[in-house]
Symmetry: C2
Subunit: 192 residues, 2 copies
DNA sequence: AAAAGTTTGTACCGATCGGTACAGGCGACG
DNA sequence: CGTCGCCTGTACCGATCGGTACAAACTTTT
């Protein structure tokens, strides 16, 4: 092998690390995720951390956001747009969402960042995430037979319902609030 | 006047202060609301602050939460339960909510705390706030003719819709997301 | 095995965190 | 006018924050 053979662990570590990083940010927020907590959660010392992410916390958070965005693009947005059966695509979205948020036991990191103090720093990523989701869902609903305006409104209701249910579930410490709400949203969407 | 004549400014300050404190917590979260920011927002030095709130930040936040809870009890929960015309009480709730959240330009401090890192410290207050709201609304919907289960589900949808719309509005930096969603929720509730 | 390059732990940095101590300012009352 | 007690600005505290420097330890290449 000629090609530099760049340490394999670096890329591997990085990919394996992001989920752990994500959990720390998710549970403690951007400000609350101290380097101490991060080292504890990842098992990596500051040295390694700053070697992998020279941009520090900001870069870690940005990459975590990007990874989450990528997950939703792959597992939600694209299926919504490409499924042969639109209804199957939409059903897939609800299943993926339930999966991702661990049936309400997990909160939305993007939502946490949207409300948190570091909002401005990640405003663009946060905005784009919801925008992409809303557009993908609206388009799918149109294909499913909803009129343009109706689809846009319903899409907004679904996204808000999901985010709000996550907040309520966390507040009540009862994940069922989320699963119930999600089930009703799915039913409402399928009513057409 | 015999009664001690306790400095009038203290109680007055305290009451007048809470809204300002609330704004700081709302905009920066519990962790993000540093004493520096608080002194700046209130115009009071640490000396005065700790004189009024010996319990420090934790006490400030707790009192802010209590004040907000009181506002909702007075302006939303009680009207929901006592209005002669139930529908008027419900309409009043939507108006009060739109007012309180400044048509979507303000986020919900209780929601911020629910998602934030200080969650555990204020878990009880956060839980009770949403519980009281949900119960008041459910009861009102029952009185308006909804069946018990239907009322409970709709109530959950409304609360989640409101919280979620606040998140989306903040994320999109577009308050209209909130007003649109709120209008749809109102319409849905009134459909019966 | 020596050299080169990568990854890591550790010590340290200035800044800021929440909180405390306290001396004096200031206003009400005698 | 003097006294007393609430109020407040300031200095200071230890802890922790995010981030940097760097030398030892490890890999990999020669």
């Amino acid at each position: 092998m000629r090609k530099k053979a760049a340490t394999p662990s670096l890329a591997a570590n990085r990919a394996g690390l992001l989920p752990h990083l994500g959990e720390v940010f998710r549970e403690h927020g951007y400000e609350g995720a101290s380097l101490t907590l991060i080292t504890k959660a990842t098992g990596l010392g500051k040295g390694s951390l700053y070697h992998l992410f020279p941009g520090g916390k900001q870069q870690m958070a940005a990459e975590v956001l990007a990874e989450i965005d990528g997950w939703f693009v792959r597992n939600v947005f694209v299926p919504l747009g490409e499924a042969e059966d639109v209804r199957a695509g939409i059903a897939h979205m609800f299943a993926a969402v339930d999966d991702y948020f661990r049936s309400g036991r997990r909160v939305c990191l993007v939502g946490v960042f949207a409300l948190g103090a570091a909002r401005d720093e990640f405003a663009a990523a946060v905005r784009d995430y919801f925008k992409a989701w809303g557009e993908a869902l609206t388009a799918a609903l149109c294909r499913a037979g909803y009129a343009r305006a109706e689809a846009a409104a319903l899409s907004e209701d679904v996204l808000a319902g999901i985010q709000g249910a996550l907040v309520l579930a966390r507040a009540a410490n009862d994940a069922k609030v989320f699963t119930r709400t999600l089930a009703r949203l799915k039913k409402r969407v399928g009513a057409k």
